[in-house]
């Protein structure tokens, strides 16, 4: 199959589903890595929505992201963790989508902002849930780790996206203006 071929709707759904499962797996594996600060994570699962934004479009990426969060909470988490994940996920994805749509930054920049905003979203929810602003002391740590993690995932994404495209797993970006 040619690298530039557009995917059929069936192919799109299938690809999205598989990648969603991969994202779920990443999320699960990542939970075993101990972190000093609660809520700190590498965010490897975010790699998938990142790759999907330029490949299958914003709506598809959004669905995969939400689905992954839901499934992850259902399978491995609790109602509380779901709330936090969702908050982080929504804020993070919204920002990522905006940045991508308006080409403010490249893929790496999108990922960095996604990482930082994920943590910001979680802190916001924590402040409301715990009823105290004290949790904000974790902010510097989470901004730093969000930046670094986002950078790592972004660079990784930038490296494997061309390869996935060459392999025909993901389509080229739709650049035609109509």
């Amino acid at each position: 199959m040619k690298p530039t071929e557009r995917l059929s709707p069936a192919r799109r759904v299938a690809t999205a589903a598989v990648l969603c499962a991969v994202s779920l797996l990443f999320s699960y594996l990542e939970s075993f890595i101990p972190m000093p600060v609660p809520g700190m994570k590498i965010g490897l699962a975010n790699l998938i929505p990142l790759l999907l934004l330029p490949s299958l479009g914003i709506p598809t990426a959004a669905c995969v992201s939400l689905l992954r969060i839901g499934l992850s909470a259902l399978l491995f988490g609790s109602p509380v963790s779901f709330l936090y994940s969702l908050a982080g996920g929504i804020v993070s994805f919204a920002v990522m989508a905006l940045v991508f749509r308006f080409r403010l930054f490249g893929l790496t920049g999108v990922s960095v902002l996604g990482g930082v905003c994920h943590n910001l979203g979680q802190i916001l929810v924590a402040i409301f849930a715990l009823g105290t602003v004290r949790i904000a002391v974790l902010l510097p740590w989470l901004i730093l780790s969000g930046t670094v993690a986002g950078l790592a995932v972004g660079l990784l994404g930038g490296a494997i996206l061309p390869r996935l495209r060459r392999a025909g797993v993901l389509p080229e970006e739709e650049t035609k203006k109509e």
Partner: protein, 122 residues
């Protein structure tokens, strides 16, 4: 292949600066005694309870020697009432974090000691 566009580098640096500034802020604030405090309640030199000072509570301490009614209110701890003979513990009044280094409330007949410790210290 360009790893990062100039814009992205600017983004990264600004984020690092922001978090650095926040760290500095935290560090400066920490010097002034900010932090969470616990009221540590000990009986015969053994800790029996650790109560956060931010949460208003009433703790009824009971031992074979007697009873002390310990109240946490408005960020301070005090013995509201007790059935000991000398009432020194009640007379002491409140114990607040500003005095935490040196002050304590003790009920000698009941072998009871109340001190304030920062959270996170064993």
């Amino acid at each position: 292949m360009k790893l990062l566009s100039r814009r992205e580098i600017v983004l990264l640096v600004s984020l690092l600066l922001i978090s650095g500034a926040l760290f500095l802020l935290l560090f400066l604030l920490r010097g002034s005694g900010e932090g969470e405090w616990d009221a540590v309640i000990a009986y015969r030199n053994k800790t029996v309870a650790r109560l956060p000072l931010e949460v208003d509570t009433v703790y009824l301490f009971e031992c074979e020697e007697g009873v002390n009614r310990i109240v946490i209110e408005g960020g301070a701890v005090r013995v509201e009432s007790a059935d000991c003979k000398n009432q020194v513990c009640v007379e002491h009044g409140t114990l607040v974090p500003a005095e935490a280094d040196l002050d304590f409330i003790s009920c000698a007949p009941h072998r009871l000691l109340i001190t304030l410790e920062r959270r996170g210290k064993e």
